[in-house]
Structure formats: C-alpha cells, structure tokens
Symmetry: C7
Subunit: 70 residues, 7 copies
Amino acid sequence: MKPLDLLQQSLHKRVLVEMKGGRSFRGVLDAFDQHLNLVLSSAEEVVKDAVTPRAGLTLVRGDSVVYISP
Amino acid sequence: MKPLDLLQQSLHKRVLVEMKGGRSFRGVLDAFDQHLNLVLSSAEEVVKDAVTPRAGLTLVRGDSVVYISP
Amino acid sequence: MKPLDLLQQSLHKRVLVEMKGGRSFRGVLDAFDQHLNLVLSSAEEVVKDAVTPRAGLTLVRGDSVVYISP
Amino acid sequence: MKPLDLLQQSLHKRVLVEMKGGRSFRGVLDAFDQHLNLVLSSAEEVVKDAVTPRAGLTLVRGDSVVYISP
Amino acid sequence: MKPLDLLQQSLHKRVLVEMKGGRSFRGVLDAFDQHLNLVLSSAEEVVKDAVTPRAGLTLVRGDSVVYISP
Amino acid sequence: MKPLDLLQQSLHKRVLVEMKGGRSFRGVLDAFDQHLNLVLSSAEEVVKDAVTPRAGLTLVRGDSVVYISP
Amino acid sequence: MKPLDLLQQSLHKRVLVEMKGGRSFRGVLDAFDQHLNLVLSSAEEVVKDAVTPRAGLTLVRGDSVVYISP
C-alpha cells in the first residue's frame, strides 16, 4: 500500500494538519489529491496558541503541508 | 471529489486567501487553475493590520497560496 | 475562464507586480507566459520607499511574482 | 540497487525521520512512495526536547524529509 | 509575443541581472535558455556596493534570477 | 561523462555529504539515484561539532544535498 | 548557442562556482549535466575566508549553484 492509499482511511475523519511556518489545522478531511492539497470542513486554524474557527470548506495547498495525523 | 472540484463551489463567492509571508487577501474568487493561481475581484490586501483595497482583478500566483477559506 | 485568460485583459495596461522579498514593480504589461514570466515597459522598481525607473523592457521571472494587480 | 529499494528493507521496522525545521519522528514505517511521502505508525514527534505521541497513522510529506535512519 | 521572445532583443546588449540574495550582475547577454539560465560576458558582479569584474563568460543559473533589465 | 557516471566511482567508498542547514554525513555510499537520493552505511552525522553515529542504512533525500566529496 | 553549450568551453578548465548560502568552490570542471550538477577536481571549498582543499572528485548539486565563472 502507498501513503496516499492509507490517507484514504482518514477521509471524513478528524485530522491534524501540521504546516510549514508554525501553523496547523484541525478539521474533517473531506478530500485530497496526489499533491496533498486537502479540503477540511469544521476546521480550526491554530497559530501559536491562537485558535480561529474557519467556517465552510478550507482548501489547504499541499505544498505547505508537513504531516497529517489523526 | 477532489480538492479543486470543491473549490469550484467557491467560484463567485467571497474568500479569504492566506499567503506565505504574512499577507492575505479577501475578495471574490473569479477564476482558478490547477496550480491554484487565482483571480480575485473587489479584493482587499491585508498585511499585518494594514488593509489596502485593490481595484479591478488581482491575479495571485498559486505558489504563494497557503490556504483558501470562505 | 482561467486566471491567465483574465491576465490577457491587462495586456498593454499599467499593472502593479508585487514580488517576493519586498520588491515591487509598476509598469505596462507587454507580455507574459504560463510561468508568469512578465515583460514590463516604462517600469519603476520600488524597494521599501526607493523608486528606481527602469528604461526599456524589464523581464521579470515568474517564480518571484506574488500577485499582479491593476 | 537504488535508494528506494533499500528503503524497502526498513518497511514495518522502527525508523528515525529527520525533517526540515528541527522536527523529527520516530515510528514504524508502514508505507512510502517515490516522493518519500511516508506513513508511520506508533509515532512520536520530537521538536527540540518535547516528545509528542501521535496515535494512528501519521502521513509525512516527502518534501520535508531530510533523512531516514533505523 | 512571449517574454522570452522579447529577451531576444537584448542579446549582445548590456543588461542588469538582479538576483535573489542581494546580488546583481551587469554584463553583455550572450545566451539564454527557457529556464533563464544566462551567459554574460564582460560582467561585473555587485554585492551591496562591492563591484567585482568577472573575466570570460559567466553562466548564471536561471533559478536565482529575479529580473533582467537593460 | 556525466556527473552521475562519475559518482558511480564513489560507490562502496567513504564519502562526505554536505547538506543544507549545516548538517553533514560521512559514510559509505551504497546507492544513489538521479535525484541524488543516497544510501549511506556506517554513517556518522555531524551537526556543528556534534558527531552522532547512525547504525544501519541511512537514506538521505537528494533535495537536501549540497555536495558529495571523497 | 545556448548557455550549456557555452559551458562546454569551460570543460577541463579551472572555474569558480558560487553557491547559495555563502559557499563557493574553485576547481577544474570535469563534467556537468542539464541540471547544472557539476563534477570538480582539484577543488577548494571557500566558506567566508576559510579554504578547505577537497581531494578527488567533488559532485556539486546544481540546485545549489548560483553562477559559474572562469
């Protein structure tokens, strides 16, 4: 199995997305592609200790993703 | 569905575009391509707390985009 | 319509080109390609508050472009 | 033999993944692809001296990987 | 016309090449390719205010080029 | 001859691998590919003056390599 | 003529290779490819004012090269 096949198992589940530059997101993984572009729903953005809810669907560019974890 | 299919739902709606280097835009998403190059109308650029309106159509290079949110 | 189709509308008009590293250009957009390499005429380069006129045609590498605005 | 063939020998074994920006992971290598995207299980994230366990499967983007070692 | 067609007009003429990291070159543009790799003759390298003449042909890697101007 | 053909001569010999960010490795070059992904055995990692032995096979991502020397 | 054709003229001659991050090499150019990966013999590495001779063949990754000059 390849990494992106395993990411399939996280679809529609809540994930932590750690990004370059000290930003992270928590949200439900609604879609992804082979570049690791992601769509999150019910997302919260965390920068240092500041949490900002993001309504609707957030599209995260794969280029800025460091890791994705449950 | 893939991330860029979901972005289709934001066409002609107001979005927040967070960019590398602490810059962000708010504006109406008029067009995008697979690199996440974007065209925004009625856009405002935000750097720290300074807001600058940008008349006409602003083309944002996908390479600098971190995420797009409603 | 795609972003680069819309950029077609700015051809031969004055644009602001914001670049990585705090540099920007104002000039007439004479040409562009799919990498966002640009040719500007009657250009002025702005770094912080220092404005330098650039005679002739300035070729800007797309890789350094952040956004293009009227 | 090519580097990624040799990485095959580390499958299902515990590895250290050193990443850009001073972050590292220890975990069991469950999958990888040619971009060095990795899936780790039973992973611990280490930033400076702070160790954070990561439940489930962590997908690490290859772009951020510096080296992988037993 | 495309940007690289217009660069053709600068062949064998003196150009300023501004590069990433605060370095620039002045020299005669003897060759270029689609990556903006350049060959300059009679070149001077400028870093801050220090000017260093470079004998012979200097090959500049396109990846480091920010803009080219007469 | 091309650079990677010459690297063939260093196979199974001890090399110094200088990497971005002030890290280097010394070890026996067991494999490489066209991206300069490397496998080193009997490797030591050097960061500033701290030397850490790395047991087994270390896979170094080519993207972080600056140069390879005997 | 294209830039890499002109580099052909520097084969087996002594060159200066300026690299990202304040490092440079002087050595005889024994091979290069289209990525500007280089092989240097009789090379000296210069970081600030510290000169380190590098025995044998040094393979420099093109990605780190800024310019090559006689």
